[in-house]
């Protein structure tokens, strides 16, 4: 059977030459190298579940009157899109399972990408010749976050509708082009009747196709350049040591794929997420407290909450205060991240090709920068739910907001400093592990003495 298949393909494609090497390709085995696959399997799962949902969602803001199993919404006016989500959720249970698994997957997907990106960053895997994959990966992160935002805004519930209003207002705050940008994107004064119908093709077509294409490129480049590996016995810059793709690595990867699918399905069935029937349909003149976006937008939310009121007003024009935390700061942040391979190369003067990874502590400056950025993002994320924290810990929300403000401008630097110091210490210790050179000193009467000299 296999023989027949291989022959049939080879007759037409000459595929055996490729196949023969591909099946034995070495894949380094460190567990953290599978983080990218975790993200990729999330992508497969989310496309599969999303395809199902796309057949049942009505991407329309046309108002309809609801009549269905939810008594408290009976007779209520709502968008057709919202009504279709209610119908799916209260219909055959598998619909709700797939819908919830899809949403859980989005949250997990971005988390997996972030952790994967962290591994790449802290081990220096983005160094030459892999800068291109770093850029592609970072772009995919942004696209996935945007896909998530457009996705949870599709149902037209009160919570995500508020988020869309905020997005619209952020666009408005951009100098020169902001008003036009907001009006062209949304089709008029917010809210228009076109919001959901425009979000839909963005969410199901443009972004997934872009992500898929970039992912294909990302993997193809990885395949061609071969995977990096940690330094170790028998591992050099000129080889790649690992398990063969087939059947060893494929088995492991398959295990990860099925466990990812399994966990997401379990969460989709057992843990409620985004219960839109509780939020009610979107009414722009009423909003429940507390109001948060999904976690991967939470850092933006936190920035908006704690940012100072720096509205720039001059005759005839205003740069609204939200511009700085919501547009300017993220642009600088992601600009820095995009340019990091260049920045690091500039400071280390190291433009050599690297196939061996660094242990994170081997590059204290990079570690400090990364830890600083992560601390900063984590604090912003925390600030985004300051009112929930205020309720839980029974502290005044204004005090918590001030606490976060002070923390955001101090803790990242302190954390970076600590990281740098810890790395230097680890470096020192590992240097001491190296074998010392031994000086043999011959004495006058023929004896030998040892003197240990540590390497510089």
């Amino acid at each position: 059977m296999i023989r027949w298949l291989v022959n049939a393909l080879d007759d037409r494609l000459g595929s055996s030459t490729f196949l023969r090497h591909a099946l034995r390709k070495a894949f380094p085995d460190h567990w953290s190298f599978m983080l990218g696959e975790l993200a990729a399997y999330c992508f497969i799962f989310i496309v599969a579940t999303g395809t199902y949902l796309a057949f049942f969602f009505h991407p329309s803001d046309v108002p309809v009157i609801y009549h269905g199993p939810i008594r408290s919404l009976d007779g209520r006016s709502m968008t057709e899109g919202y009504a279709s989500v209610l119908q799916l959720s209260y219909g055959p249970a598998i619909g709700l399972v797939i819908r919830q698994a899809h949403h859980w997957c989005a949250d997990v997907f971005v988390a997996a990408v972030v952790v994967h990106m962290g591994r790449i960053f802290f081990t220096g895997a983005f160094r030459r010749p892999r800068e291109l994959n770093w850029v592609i990966g970072l772009t995919m992160l942004l696209l996935v976050m945007l896909d998530g935002f457009t996705g949870y805004s599709l149902p037209g519930d009160n919570l995500s509708g508020g988020g869309l209003r905020i997005a619209n207002s952020i666009a408005l705050s951009i100098p020169l082009i902001g008003s036009w940008l907001a009006y062209l994107l949304f089709g008029g004064t917010f809210p228009t009747h076109d919001v959901t119908s425009r979000l839909f093709p963005i969410h199901v077509l443009f972004l997934p196709v872009a992500i898929g294409a970039l992912l294909g490129l990302h993997v193809a480049i990885l395949w061609h350049q071969k995977h990096t590996q940690f330094p170790g016995k028998g591992k050099t810059e000129r080889n790649v040591v690992g398990s063969p793709l087939f059947p060893h690595y494929a088995l492991k990867s398959l295990a990860l794929m099925l466990s990812t699918f399994g966990v997401l399905l379990l969460m989709g069935g057992l843990i409620e997420i985004n219960p839109v029937w509780e939020y009610g349909p979107y009414d722009p003149w009423t909003l429940a407290s507390p109001a948060q976006p999904d976690w991967y937008i939470g850092w933006l939310e936190g920035a908006l909450r704690v940012a100072p009121r720096w509205a720039l007003r001059f005759p005839g024009h205003t740069i609204g205060a939200p511009f700085w935390p919501a547009v300017f700061m993220p642009a600088v942040l992601f600009g820095l991240l995009y340019l990091w391979p260049v920045i690091e190369q500039f400071f280390t003067r190291d433009d050599a090709e690297h196939e061996l990874l660094q242990f994170p502590w081997q590059n204290p400056a990079r570690m400090a920068f990364g830890v600083g950025i992560l601390t900063y993002m984590a604090l912003l994320l925390g600030a985004g739910s300051d009112d929930v924290q205020a309720r839980i810990w029974q502290i005044d929300v204004q005090e918590i907001a001030w606490g976060y403000r002070i923390a955001i401008v101090t803790l990242p630097f302190i954390a970076a400093l600590f990281a740098w110091l810890i790395c230097r210490e680890l470096q020192r210790r590992h240097a001491e592990d190296k074998p010392n050179r031994v000086l043999l000193i011959r004495s006058q009467d023929g004896g030998f003495e040892e003197e240990r000299v540590s390497t510089p």
């Binding site: 951009i174 008029g188 790649v240 063969p244 909450r305």
Partner: protein, 281 residues
Amino acid sequence: MTVAVALWLVLAIVAAVAFATGFALDASAQIEGGSLGLACLSIACALIVWSRHLMPHETVVDEQHPKRSTARDRGDAIDELENGLGQVARRPWLVRLGIAAASVLGIAALFPIRTFGPNPQGRLGVSDWKSGSQLVREDGTPLRADMVEFGSVATAFPQGYIGADRVAAMANDAVVVLRVTPQALQLPPERRNWAPGGYLAYSKICTHLGCPLGLYRQGPQELMCPCHQSVFNVLDGGSVVFGPAARALPQLPLTIDADGNLRAGGGMSDFVGPDNWNYGA
């Protein structure tokens, strides 16, 4: 260990059958998702055990090469490109004309984007409130002065601008109506008669990012926004007390007509909603 793998796979079969059965019997989401997830996870566990204990460990070593091609290939590629471009470049004016054509066509191709939405000029921040507009509730019934006691709060819209087809208007016109004791008012001098009997109306749309300000703190007389916790003082014309909002809340002057209905005494004091580039023009 083979037994362990076998058991996991059997569990997977059982779970998958449980799912199918549950589906046929219209079971809950918990049972259907739980069984399907368990089936996948069981196969995964089987594969994990197989990979760790049954699969013979094998290491392969591939060669890693510097990524650059041979100098000759590189040179050839550069030569090919330069030759090809050189042939075209022999007619520089045609090339320039060609670039011009492509550029103009490219720009022209962007024009349809203009159809995506209207010109924001004159639409941003405006509301439908005019002198004499009657305040009505969401269901269209008039908001009478005697409905709003000291310490009450109500949401209102201008009459004639409500309904499912007027959502954009309602989204910008919504006001909060309150009543405070007149002695407590600290309105600016030009707004002295905007609050007859202590009745106040403010835009419900936060000047930070447009969220509706539903949270009325009746003792301290403040309105708080649930999105980013901007707090506005209702006694002094809507100034910002806390939070990221950078502009005071627009106020609507009120009058009470002969029938006791609340009416607007004019338009909004300021641009409604969040700041944008053209505010201040």
